[in-house]
Amino acid sequence: MLAIQDLSCIRGDHLLFKNLSFDVKSGSLLYVLGENGSGKSSLLRLVCGLLSQEEGAVLWRGDDIRHVRESYQADLLYIGHLNGLKDDLTALENLHMNARLAGEDASLPQALDALKAMGLGRIASLPARVLSQGQKRRVALARIWLTKAKLWVLDEPFAALDASTIDLLAAQLGQHLANHGMIILTTHQEVTILAENTQMLRLSH
């Protein structure tokens, strides 16, 4: 479904990778691995269309994503290093608005359920400003419970999370794969995710 063809990426005058090609099929999980600064985040942003490549193309169902932007984005969930939370809005409002912005039909009670699933029931009505690092990350990740997107692109989803939340999240990721979803993720931690088809892509300077 997702095909990467001959992708090259240059940041500044530094070549991160060249002629990178791979496919991600329904139900499969792709780990992007590599040292700090090897270009994992850049690759993920390229796949989402946030960065524009030097050469090559990203194809979604056979079409270049630059030509079918809206329909591609409807199928895409991206959670990067940044959480995308507004300090002055409550955790619940943040989650709800972010989900609706991404085109989901989530209602407020559904958003609350998602927060509860992430173990954040108690802090749903606190402004994002006062949350702890891990709680903020969990609010951002709670979108996973609300989305209908097929392709999930997650940049270090496990950073700052405590052990029990990591298990919870891993289970949810496995669930998505079992439902024929696709996941691309980067991580520096060892986390087991059940998938029938797991690929590894190792970037190196």
Binding site: Q73, L89, A102
Partner: protein
């Protein structure tokens, strides 16, 4: 009902409501700038009403710009902008929603407050009306044009003043027609022509600015 632009509008208004100070700063700034002049000079009512259109319009323009510089900056820093770019709906609409929110929070209060300040400057009743009308027609153009500058300078070093440098020259037609309208009505002439030109500026900006802003945003997140 699940339109992304509505969500954006709602979110920005909610934030402004939570953070009231933004509105207050704009309004205060407008008040200070426009009341300074009578303080700084020999306040004879003739001179005052002579400079009134210019001063009030410039004050409105600067007050709007003060808040405009940060229109997309927090969205950029906290990652919301990425999410907006990835929403499966037209970016231009969302941009328009953000501009609308900005105008409601920073432009509208100035429009409503202007007549009170106009009184200080001994403006006659008709001129006050025209002042309000011209601001109502012109301030949207200011927000729209300013958004382009704000988007272009995202994440750029020293962006606050750079926005001003990029945007202020583009504001000049609006300023001229706006102040011209008030001045015309002060001299008993019809402000019709100026007002139509002002509306034309706003319309043109309404069509082009969201497109340019959306393009600029895509460039800036790279």
């Amino acid at each position: 009902m699940n339109a992304a632009w509505l969500t954006v509008l709602q979110r920005d208004l909610l934030q402004a409501f939570r953070r009231r100070s933004d509105v207050a700063t704009t309004v205060f700034f407008f008040l200070i700038v426009s009341s300074l002049f009578p303080l700084g000079m020999n306040p004879e009512s003739e001179t005052l009403s002579l400079i009134a259109p210019g001063v009030l319009w410039v004050a409105a323009l600067l007050a709007g710009m003060l808040s405009l510089t940060r229109l997309f900056a927090t969205d950029f820093a906290d990652g919301s902008l990425e999410q907006m770019l990835l929403a499966p709906q037209p970016l231009t609409l969302m941009v328009l929603a953000k501009i609308l929110a900005h105008w409601l929070v920073c432009g509208l209060p100035v429009v409503l407050l202007a007549p009170i300040i106009g009184l200080q400057y001994a403006l006659p009743y008709e001129a006050l009306q025209i002042l309000m009308l011209s601001l109502l027609l012109g301030t949207p153009a200011l927000s729209l044009i300013g958004a382009i500058g704000a988007a272009l300078t995202l994440g750029v070093r020293g962006s606050g003043l750079l926005v001003a440098l990029l945007v202020l020259p583009l504001y000049i037609p609006v300023l001229i027609f706006g102040a011209g309208a008030v001045a015309a009505s002060q001299h008993g002439m019809s402000a019709q022509a100026h007002l139509s030109l002002l509306a034309a500026c706003s319309l043109l900006a309404l069509v082009l600015a969201p497109l340019a802003t959306a393009a600029a945003l895509r460039i800036s997140v790279e």
